[in-house]
């Protein structure tokens, strides 16, 4: 680095923001709107120092430039650079695929691509519908539901386990720590409990890997264990990390999208009516829910070559937080960005990321969302959320979700 740290810090536009704080969670739109208009590439001294990138163009540029903005999460420094991966603060371990750069990334993506191929996703749709119907059947005669605990949480978790070939009835054991670890803050008891839950998950997954190596079955886990790319199969450790990535990506994010959409439609009754009367609008409304709520609020990168971004000089080793949620409200890209427009077009949001790291499960997520929302709108069209007892994630540093969302509706008959 050419300049002394003091000199650099003076030139950096400092802001006093911690994107993991409850204050940020409560005021995210106001805070990021201010940053976006005043200083879309700003520097916070929290978490060891990081840039907050809040406008669409600069986030898109960073997402598409893997040679300058690295996703890698490495245990040790490499050539004097700490590669912290895609979360600030760093995750306790590397997440395969999303915390890798090409060419290593290519190997893992090629192993996982077939699992989420268009025909496989298509074949999953009836199963998604079955799980969604089951979950609604469980509550439909009572007239009460917790949209998170009874529906938005189980369905994506069951689908994820089904995809992998793991027992679907274990969904809660996977889902609970996966949700908790993103909304609790490192250093708290709640976070430690979530990490302990993840330990169970890792031990179980490890046993499943060993089992598939010994006795292959006709399932995705066997496929992942045996697929050869560049003349080798993945190691147990690599497989474990990959499974963790699939579970994190599959379980918490779709839950968040569903919860936010259902909450929104509780307030915006006009849009609820519209989607009930004109279900052909659901696909475009899905894109708008994605844009408006950005289930994954932000991912980070490490700068590995000095560069300029939005008029600021970023140095090798700097960390940047790409605020998707803010980029998705950028008025330069989305006219009237704070209005929810069910048929907004074009709607080039980055809720699934952009560039090589685009969410591999995005098509499955869109289908799941539409299928579950259809169950809600068709079978409990008059639902009313109990706002007093609804609880949001206290930190939306990673995922913008809800812990619970109780609601009432006119009871109806089971369908199975």
């Amino acid at each position: 680095m050419a300049n002394s740290p003091d000199h650099d810090l003076q030139r950096r536009p400092l802001v006093d923001i911690d994107h993991t704080s409850p204050e940020y969670a409560d005021n995210v739109q106001a805070i990021t709107r201010d940053l976006r208009t005043r200083c879309p590439v700003a520097f916070s001294e929290q978490h060891g120092g990081y840039w907050l990138i809040t406008d669409h163009d600069n986030c898109a540029r960073a997402l598409r430039d893997d040679a300058v903005f690295s996703s890698l999460h490495a245990a040790e420094e490499i050539d004097g650079v700490r590669y912290g991966g895609v979360n600030i603060p760093e995750a306790p371990y590397q997440n395969a695929l999303i915390e890798m750069d090409p060419p290593e990334w290519n190997v893992f993506r090629r192993v996982l691509n077939p699992v989420f191929s268009p025909p496989r996703v298509e074949a999953l749709r009836p199963h998604v519908a079955e799980f969604a119907t089951q979950c609604v059947d469980n509550v439909i005669e009572t007239g009460t539901i917790d949209f998170v605990l009874d529906l938005a949480n189980p369905v994506p978790a069951m689908v994820t386990l089904l995809i992998l070939g793991l027992p679907v009835e274990d969904w809660a054991k996977y889902a609970e720590p996966t949700h908790e670890v993103v909304y609790t803050r490192p250093g708290t008891l709640e976070f430690d409990k979530a990490v302990a839950g993840q330990q169970w998950m890792f031990q179980t997954l490890y046993q499943e890997i060993v089992d598939r190596r010994a006795s292959p079955r006709d399932d995705v886990l066997t496929e992942l264990v045996t697929t050869e790319v560049d003349g080798r199969t993945l190691t147990d450790e690599e497989l474990l990390s990959m499974l963790n990535t699939v579970i994190n990506g599959g379980v918490d994010t779709t839950t968040s999208l569903l919860a936010n959409a259902i909450e929104h439609l509780d307030r915006d009754r006009e849009t609820r009516r519209l989607l009930i009367d004109a279900p052909e609008l659901v696909p475009s409304a899905t894109e708008e829910f994605l844009r408006y709520f950005s289930p994954v609020q932000a991912f980070s990168r490490t700068v590995i070559q000095d560069t300029e971004l939005g008029g600021q000089r970023l140095e090798r080793g700097d960390r940047v937080l790409l605020c998707f949620a803010s980029a998705n409200r950028d008025e330069a890209q989305f006219p009237d960005p704070d209005s929810f427009v069910p048929d907004r077009f074009p709607n080039r949001h980055m809720a699934f990321g952009l560039g090589k790291h685009r969410c591999i499960g995005s098509t499955l997520a869109r289908h799941q969302f539409a299928i579950v929302l259809d169950q809600v709108l068709a079978r409990m069209p008059d639902y009313e959320i109990d706002r007093e007892r609804t609880e949001r994630y206290p930190s939306i540093g990673i995922v913008n979700g809800y812990i619970r969302m109780p609601a009432g509706f006119t009871p109806g008959p089971r369908s199975q």
């Binding site: 993506r109 691509n113 077939p114 989420f116 191929s117 268009p118 025909p119 696909p283 894109e287 077009f345 074009p346 709607n347 080039r348 949001h349 980055m350 699934f352 952009l354 560039g355 090589k356 685009r358 995005s362 098509t363 869109r366």
Partner: protein
């Protein structure tokens, strides 16, 4: 008039296939978009333009 995919930009979001399945299919192996015959008849022109406008990677190219 012709439509094609810039394969250096396409990342397999799949929205073109949602919008205009008659023009864009998704490859089984990685979900990236493909155009079978890029010739645009007048009735397909609007669908192609809409898909190009909606592509998050701006990977759909229409040549007049």
């Amino acid at each position: 008039m012709n439509v094609r995919i810039d394969e250096t930009r396409c990342q397999g979001h799949g929205l073109c296939n949602f919008a205009a399945p008659e023009l864009f299919r998704l490859r089984d192996e990685d979900g990236h978009a493909e155009v079978e015959d890029g010739t645009l008849t007048p009735e397909l022109e609007d669908a192609a333009r809409r898909a190009a406008l909606g592509c998050p990677e701006q990977a759909i190219i229409i040549e007049e």
